[in-house]
């Protein structure tokens, strides 16, 4: 019993030690809980919310693009698609089989869908097919109640109902890439279904058109399944964008130009610079850039020598040829040359050992400024250019918007080129030759202009010297224009010369009268050389031959404004390799001008003017 008592005391001692140890251990666990739950609770609470709450962006509908009368140029149309949710469709394979009896669904597509269905989480929808026809939508809609797990819904797709005629102006949309996302913090860009403007108006006015993303906060479980909606901020739809463009005139321009291989036309309001039409031929179907791009088609579009992907109105840079002569004339007037001073033209102009030819082989005889413009006498302008120098010509050209991007709300406008002595030294490290001044004086050599610049130049010449800037969206560049700083009497001489081109007895565009009673037009033809004419060519008469390859033929240009008394529109037309401004370009420009005057009668003008002021 002594042993037992001792043993019991030992046990009791040790049992108390054990009990004490348990109290200590439980105490430690309690302390650990205190630390995690109370001291660090806030932090873990945030982590739990991070787990729990998933934010989803909601796509706003993109704004429409309208013409000045509110007609739709770009809008969104729903396209229908069929999707399948695995965990609701008890047997995905059987469901797809049932669907294949309702819609076109090749075996290969079914297999691909089954693979994807097996790969994603059970509650995530997988697209079976999109772009369903109406018949297919109707058939699927009828059977949806019998097909668990099948979702029929719609997504917005951008539509351009007028296709090629507006493809260059409107541009197209594409998925936002990493560069876009780096440059633009807008969270919308992170949405996979978001499409960003890739060219044209869609790009230039993307921010107005795209709207603002909505935000849906949902509670999700560990698998990402949405349990319930916590809050919803509706997206702000994109703003509808109204353009100054006239749909009918634009389509007319496009159709009228389509008779040519490659051409472009620009119509602007002389008072405001608002662009009424901007057409470039050939064009492309905007659907080319929707969905998957066919590589062969892309190659063909890109390598086509007629450059269908290029908006020639703003990216085609051509020597302006004789349409540039008004600039030379204005530079001469500013230098003090009398408009009545006469220059004798014998068909050739000598400078040192060099001979510079007039387009008219046997010369125009004695011409003053207005006659020189009317007949487009090269020799007269050789002389004027020699007198004022190339830098004065370039400075005058710049005042009329040449040699610089004009800030039209379309991306990719090219500047053209007004050569100066300094430019040549910098560019080629060579001195300027006087012969180059003569060539520049008739808009050849280094001088390059875009059709848009020529239209704006013409507008500034006939609107009293207001330095209007071109714009497509109504409220773009609304600040009042400055002035070109040329005396009104100088501009009046130019206007008279341009009127004579169309209405004068010897005008180079006599056949281009509008044919509207009481409406006169001022204009100027231009024919710009693409290939330099060598002396040998000239002697062989090759420079006039019609059998030159297309790409070596001269460009045909025409700029005009009308009505003469109260100029409303300025139009420029360039037909690439069209050979003669008076023969090819002038009739087109005349037709466009007539159509513009018919479609946009003067009473429509004040509204736009009021908007611009």
């Amino acid at each position: 019993m002594r042993h037992d008592a001792e043993r019991q005391r030992s046990f009791t001692r040790r049992a108390l030690v054990f009990g004490g140890a348990q109290v200590a251990l439980f105490g430690a666990l309690g302390a650990r809980l205190w630390r995690l739950q109370v001291e660090e609770g806030e932090r873990y609470r945030l982590l739990a919310d991070d787990n729990r709450i998933s934010a989803r962006l909601l796509m706003p509908p993109r704004g429409r693009i309208l013409d000045h009368r509110g007609r739709e140029l770009a809008h969104n149309i729903p396209t229908y698609r069929v999707r399948i949710v695995r965990e609701q469709a008890r047997d995905a394979r059987a469901t797809l089989g049932a669907l294949s009896r309702l819609i076109t669904l090749p075996e290969a597509r079914q297999a691909a869908v089954l693979t994807e269905v097996a790969a994603v989480q059970g509650f995530r929808p997988v697209t079976v097919r999109d772009d369903l026809s109406w018949d297919e939508v109707a058939r699927v809609a009828l059977h949806v109640p019998d097909l668990p797990g099948v979702i029929l819904d719609s997504v917005d797709v951008r539509a351009y109902p007028h296709g090629e005629a507006l493809a260059h102006v409107l541009g197209y949309l594409g998925p936002a890439n990493a560069t876009d996302q780096a440059e633009d913090p807008d969270r919308l860009l992170r949405l996979p279904e978001f499409r960003i403007g890739r060219s044209g108006i869609e790009q230039a006015h993307d921010r107005e058109l795209r709207g603002q993303a909505g935000l849906l906060r949902v509670e999700v479980n560990a698998l990402g399944r949405e349990i319930r909606e916590l809050s919803r901020d509706e997206p702000t739809p994109g703003r509808d964008l109204e353009l100054s463009l006239d749909l009918d005139l634009q389509r007319y321009c496009f159709e009228r130009l389509s008779g040519e291989l490659a051409a472009s036309a620009v119509v602007v309001e002389t008072a405001t610079g608002a662009v009424r039409a901007l057409a470039s031929v050939p064009s492309f179907a905007p659907s080319v850039f929707q969905g998957r791009l066919h590589p062969g088609l892309w190659q063909e579009l890109r390598d086509n020598p007629r450059t269908p992907l290029v908006n020639k109105c703003i990216r085609g840079q051509y020597p302006p040829g004789s349409t540039f002569k008004m600039i030379t004339a204005l530079a001469a007037l500013e230098a003090g040359v009398s408009p009545t001073a006469r220059v004798g033209c014998s068909g050739v102009y000598g400078l040192g050992n060099a001979r510079f030819h007039c387009w008219k082989e046997h010369g125009h005889g004695s011409v003053a400024m207005i006659e020189a413009i009317e007949q487009s006498c090269d020799v007269y302008f050789y002389e004027m250019a020699r007198r004022v120098g190339v830098d004065a010509i370039a400075a005058m050209g710049a005042r009329f918007g040449l040699g610089q991007p004009l800030g039209l709300d379309l991306p990719g406008e090219l500047p053209g080129l007004l050569p100066t002595r300094a430019w040549k030294r910098q560019r080629f490290n060579q001195p300027w030759h006087q012969g180059e001044t003569l060539v520049a004086g008739i808009g050849q050599g280094y001088v390059l202009t875009t059709p848009l610049q020529l239209a704006v130049m013409t507008a500034r010449m006939c609107n009293g010297g207001r330095a209007v800037r071109p714009a497509l969206a109504r409220d773009h560049g609304a600040e009042p224009p400055g002035t070109v700083g040329v005396p009104a009497e100088h501009l009046e001489i130019i206007r008279k010369g341009m009127r004579a081109v169309v209405h004068g007895g010897r005008g180079t565009a006599r056949q281009a009268t509008l044919g509207l009673p009481g409406v006169e037009m001022g204009g100027k033809t231009g024919t710009s050389q693409v290939k330099r004419i060598s002396r040998a060519d000239r002697q062989a008469g090759r420079h006039k031959r019609k059998d030159r390859p297309w790409h070596e033929r001269d460009h045909a240009l025409f700029v005009c404004f009308a009505p003469y008394d109260a100029p409303r529109f300025a139009v420029s037309v360039i037909v690439e390799h069209g050979e003669g401004g008076s023969r090819t370009a002038a009739p087109i420009a005349r037709d466009i001008m007539r159509r513009a005057l018919e479609l946009l009668p003067p009473e429509a003008a004040p509204a736009l003017t009021a908007q611009a002021d």
Partner: protein, 381 residues
């Protein structure tokens, strides 16, 4: 083996026994089990199915078995101790063999009606066998190293078998439970130090024998953030759930981590986490206090028992229960690696609850018959 000792006390009636039962322990067990029921109801998103109602049924059946066992005279358990150990050991070997011929880890025998997990039963069988062994020894004998060979063998054989399964958590619990029993039986402390040193030396060998997933658990425990979506996910999510509970919890049925399935195994090993998320520190601490009360009451029962067998059984059951709680809570709070030990009476799962309740049956029986010394048996050494 000697014949059964004679009863010193007169036989008690069942009614008297029930009246003399340690009701506070029964009430605590019922309370904790009921908390488990509510928790499983919440784990199912506010539904009695699939876990809560079965938990309730098991709790009821388990408590019945416990009371029945408590009524039985401890001498029955004394007599059954070695046969029970031998049977359970045979079952462990059987499981091992089936596992070897089958595929992968095998931890239970499918008896059709229930799945029997011999490693859980071994916790009870081991403590009964050890208690019986030490019951017959003098304190002087216990102090002699030679007498330590049989009990150490009794512990090590099942521990090694369970390690082979492999089930690290149960092996640790068996070894720790056995060790505590040796300590309570009076084995000298320096011998534990020696054993500790031996384990320390054997650790590298043991490490090389660990399965990849077991090593991964240790690595993950040491740095859970290194693999937040993989192996560390359990610990990180568990800590987030615990922490976000705050002082007062996120409300019954409103723990986002558990309700939204971020918390893995919320109905079994991580049930305590869910409790702490939904009821906060207040609720978790309360449950800890209840569990500690059970442990301390167990210690009191052990101290009060007259026979060495009874004392050792009672302290062994208590130690086993405490080990469950401490290992589980330490695991879900990120203090030790995830070893897959449930929280008894709260976690969903039959075997652990049954083991614990059978154990408490023995403990309550010990308390009921605490005055019986069982005597010293002539045939025992």
């Amino acid at each position: 083996m000697a014949s059964l000792p004679a009863f010193r006390e007169p036989r008690q009636h069942l009614g008297e026994k029930l009246a003399a039962l340690h009701w506070p322990i029964v009430a605590l067990l019922l309370l904790v089990g009921a908390i488990g029921y509510l928790l499983l109801y919440s784990a199912a998103g506010g539904s009695h199915a699939p876990w809560a109602w079965r938990h309730g049924v098991r709790l009821g059946v388990g408590l019945g078995i416990m009371l029945a066992i408590a009524m039985v005279d401890p001498r029955v358990w004394y007599r059954l101790a070695y046969p029970a150990y031998a049977t359970t050991l045979a079952l462990l070997v059987a499981v091992e063999l089936i596992g070897a011929f089958g595929k992968g880890a095998q931890r239970w025998l499918d008896l059709g009606v229930i799945q029997l997990q011999p490693s859980e039963l071994m916790k009870l069988a081991l403590l009964l066998a050890l208690a019986r062994y030490f019951h017959g020894l003098h304190l002087d004998q216990i102090k002699r190293p030679l007498f330590l060979v049989p009990p150490v063998a009794l512990i090590l054989v099942p521990v090694l078998l369970v390690l082979l399964q492999p089930d690290l958590g149960t092996a640790v619990m068996l070894a720790a439970g056995g060790g505590i029993l040796l300590f309570m039986a009076g084995v000298r402390l320096w011998k534990f130090a020696l054993a500790g040193a031996a384990v320390g030396l054997a650790a590298p060998v043991l490490w090389s024998r660990l399965h990849d997933y077991q090593r991964q658990r240790v690595f993950t425990f040491l740095d859970p953030e290194s693999d937040p979506l993989g192996a560390g996910y359990h610990i990180i999510q568990s800590k987030i759930a615990l922490g976000s509970g705050g002082l007062w919890g996120r409300g019954f049925l409103h723990g986002s981590q558990a309700q939204l399935s971020f918390l893995p195994e919320k109905q079994t090993d991580f049930a305590f986490t869910m409790l702490a998320e939904e009821t906060g520190f207040a609720g978790a601490a309360l449950v800890l206090v209840l569990l500690l009360a059970l442990v301390l009451l167990g210690v009191v029962v052990a101290i009060r028992a007259a026979s060495p067998f009874g004392r050792l059984v009672a302290i062994g059951v208590t130690a086993n229960f405490a080990l469950y709680v401490v290992i589980n809570v330490a695991m879900v709070t990120g203090l030790i690696p995830v070893v897959g030990v449930p929280l008894p009476l709260i976690s969903y799962g039959g075997t652990a609850m049954l083991t614990v309740l059978i154990g408490f049956g023995l403990l309550l029986g010990t308390d009921l018959h605490r005055d019986r010394t069982l005597g010293r048996f002539p045939g025992d050494p």
